[in-house]
Amino acid sequence: MIGLKFDKTKCVDCKGVFCLTRCQYLQLDRDTARKEWQKIVDGEDSFVLEACTTCYACEEYCPFHNHPFYLIVERQEQKGILPAPRPIITMWINQCQPVGRFTVGKVDERMLSYCFLPHFNTLVKGKLFDDTAGAVVFGQEFFCNAVYLHYAHTSVITERLPQIVANIGKLGVRELICLHDECYGTFTSLAPAYGIEVPFKPVHYFEYLYNRLKGLGKTVKKLDVKAAYQRNCSSRLAPETDKLVDDIFSLIGVERVKREYDKENALCCAEIIRMGKGPALADDIQKRNIDDMVKAGAEYCVFNCPACWDALADKVARKGIKPVHIIDLCKLAIGEAQSLKLPELAVEV
């Protein structure tokens, strides 16, 4: 039976109501938070449902792993609350519909998932991928669908995700190396939360990169640079992977600069927020985030999610910080070139 496994008794025992009191956008005292959360649990109206920016962070803040964010999304959908304009949601639902257009490379027990992101065609190159290159799935048929959490459409996820999981399972894949962080979050958090069985082992690509770098031994050179790390919304679904960033950085001699908006207090790329709440909040988030990187003395801004890259790479570059995807950063450490770059900034007039 597919449905959110939410245990309301866990919330009764919760002292901090961290899901709401730690929210970076709501500023609620504990009593108000408790009252509003109870309303959400009981399926009543709460202003929180309208105000939610869908940043995913409350998933990480809940000490009981009780999926507060998934519950918020469920309630938004039940009440017809639209976190983004309807045509944007329609566009997303249509765009990622599985219609039999996908790519399956060499079928193997261990495969890379590009999700539905063409960036990986550019990124996946060189020695790091020697033993997996070509064993790839890409396209709507393998798209994790977590994005609909931003659009209050859990129903699309529960409708499509079982088939996506089955598509991968049918290939006989044992280990799926998820290059899109959001896929990993989907298979390790979202799917189990909804009782969707995952018949393969999802592997986060950070783990894959770390092991590859280890395997490459002396070829790996220390880069000796300072970098700000740009956490993405879906990393909140699998916060345990954040430690792997530090592990990779220490292997390749990258200092993760200490800054206000990192780790649990990270700010997302804000483009989803722009689509839902408008430019003022999104611009403010991006400005605070980038100013913080500059203040911390970052030379590089290291991206995990290609969508964050799309949103921020150009903007950090304008502030003199070099944007780089973490895969490319690892490539730099083994003497290979960065592949994902900004397009020519001069716009054709």
Partner: protein, 463 residues
């Protein structure tokens, strides 16, 4: 009547052997365009280099009463360069120079066959702070022909039809005289096609080469700002589109607005994409304009009826490229390279009705459809395209596409639109609906300018 050979020889004398052809291949090629009108072969194809050569060709044709059809790239797609009655096709491609740019009066003078692509690169190289209104036709389309058919380009929202931007003409009349139109008839400056004189440019623009061959054209240029951006607005409520367009236009910040509606690729299905182009010399200027655009539709955003897509620099690149390659890509959706659109010029309030008609007709004739609408002027009107793509190797599909187009054109006329670059059938529909006194005036003008009816016969043929 002189023999075909004698005419061939005369043409060779005028332009040289390499630039006249009556070969089967050439005739096959010049008999058709990329659209749906039936082909008809010319007897000769000739490529002049100078105004004098054009004059001599026209004199010869007038003397011998041979039909003559001026041709650009043949991309109007409605058969306007198909020699309906044979004769001589005058391909203007060799008259391809940019003759003068007046930076201070912001105009350029081009020859009769200069292409959009050539003008664009010339300006980028030599006058990067000036630009013209580039249409989304392939770059081989010619500047003159685009003005002749009242085309619209990337500055249509701010400055209207490309023909509104004409600032002077040199024309070879059907009887062979060369005539200057506008300020250049009195002065060495080409700053105005008419005012303060009687505006005679109307004797040639919109006439599809039936009143003369334009050998030079002055075109207004506009400031080219350093930065350019596109904001993509989406709505799923067709009835809101006219109001959104009016609001965008009210900001007076937008230089071009294009609305896409098509069922494929899937991301387009069920929504209308409004591409809104802004420019600025600084980030601050752009940011201010972005804010104006957001503010213009803020209540629709709050009611969740209108959204803005976040687009990466990579994602924006194809939208910002001029011409847009998307239309050309759509043109080959059905594979087999067939594409034609009826593009009525219509008040913007008609958008919802036209969309409904497009969907109805596409379903009825089972053809693949799309629509790209361009706002012209400050909401004064728009070009709404009923576009169909088809496989040229499939005659049945082509016939269905043609019937679909005819039905859309008829509908558009009934709804008060005027058909843009109409094919000969559509021209007849227009003339049937036209005020008889206007039609009579057109007939008199045509007879006066082209007494022997040699110029692009079949087109604007008033009984």
């Amino acid at each position: 009547m002189v023999t075909t050979n004698a005419i061939h020889e005369s043409l060779v004398k005028i332009v040289g052997k390499s630039y006249v052809s009556a070969s089967r291949e050439e005739k096959y090629f010049y008999a058709r365009d990329g659209g749906l009108m039936p082909p008809h072969e010319p007897d000769f194809v000739v490529l002049p280099r100078t105004t004098e050569e054009v004059q001599e060709i026209v004199r010869l044709a007038n003397r011998e009463k041979i039909p003559i059809v001026p041709a650009g790239a043949g991309l109007a797609l409605t058969g306007l360069v198909i020699p309906q009655k044979g004769g001589i096709v005058v391909d203007m491609k060799r008259m391809d120079r940019v003759l003068e740019v007046n930076e201070k009066a912001r105009y350029v003078i081009v020859e009769g066959g200069t292409t959009q692509g050539a003008l664009k690169s010339y300006l980028q190289k030599h006058h990067p702070h000036l630009r013209h209104s580039i249409p989304d036709a392939p770059p081989s389309a010619t500047v003159v022909a685009n003005a002749v058919i009242h085309g619209q380009g990337r500055l249509a929202h701010q400055h209207g039809f490309n023909s509104d931007m004409v600032s002077g003409l040199e024309v070879v009349l059907p009887t062979g005289e060369v005539c200057r139109i506008g300020s250049c008839s009195v002065s060495s400056y080409w700053f105005s096609k008419g005012p303060p004189l009687p505006d005679l440019s109307g004797l040639f623009l919109g006439w599809f080469g039936t009143t003369g061959i334009i050998t030079k054209l002055g075109l207004k240029l506009y400031p080219c700002k350093k930065l350019r951006d596109v904001m993509v607005l989406l709505t799923d409520k067709v009835e809101l589109v006219p109001d959104i367009l009016l609001r965008l236009s009210h900001t007076e910040m937008v230089e071009d607005t294009v609305i896409s509606a098509q069922p494929l690729p899937l991301r387009f299905r069920g929504t209308f994409w409004i591409m809104t182009y802004i420019t600025g010399d600084s980030d601050e200027e752009l940011e201010f304009k972005r804010k104006m655009v957001w503010d213009a539709v803020w209540d629709y955003f709050q009611s969740r009826d209108v959204g803005f897509i976040s687009t990466s620099p990579e994602g924006k690149a194809p939208l910002l490229s001029m011409p847009s390659k998307d239309t050309t890509r759509f043109a080959d959706v059905a594979k087999g390279g067939g594409f034609q659109y009826a593009g009525p010029i219509t008040p913007i309030e008609k958008f919802p009705a036209f969309i409904r008609k497009l969907e109805e007709v596409a379903a009825k004739y089972n053809v693949f459809y799309g629509s790209t609408t361009r706002l012209i002027g400050s909401g004064h009107c728009m070009m709404f395209s009923f576009s169909f793509s088809f496989n040229r190797a499939n005659p049945d599909e082509m016939a269905r596409a043609k019937r679909a187009l005819d039905e859309c054109s008829k509908f558009a006329l009934e709804e008060g639109a005027v058909l843009w670059k109409p094919d000969v059938d559509e021209q007849k529909m227009i003339m049937e609906k036209m005020d008889p006194n206007t039609l009579e005036l057109m007939r008199k003008i045509k007879r006066l300018l082209d007494p022997n009816g040699i110029m692009n016969p079949g087109n604007w043929e008033m009984r």
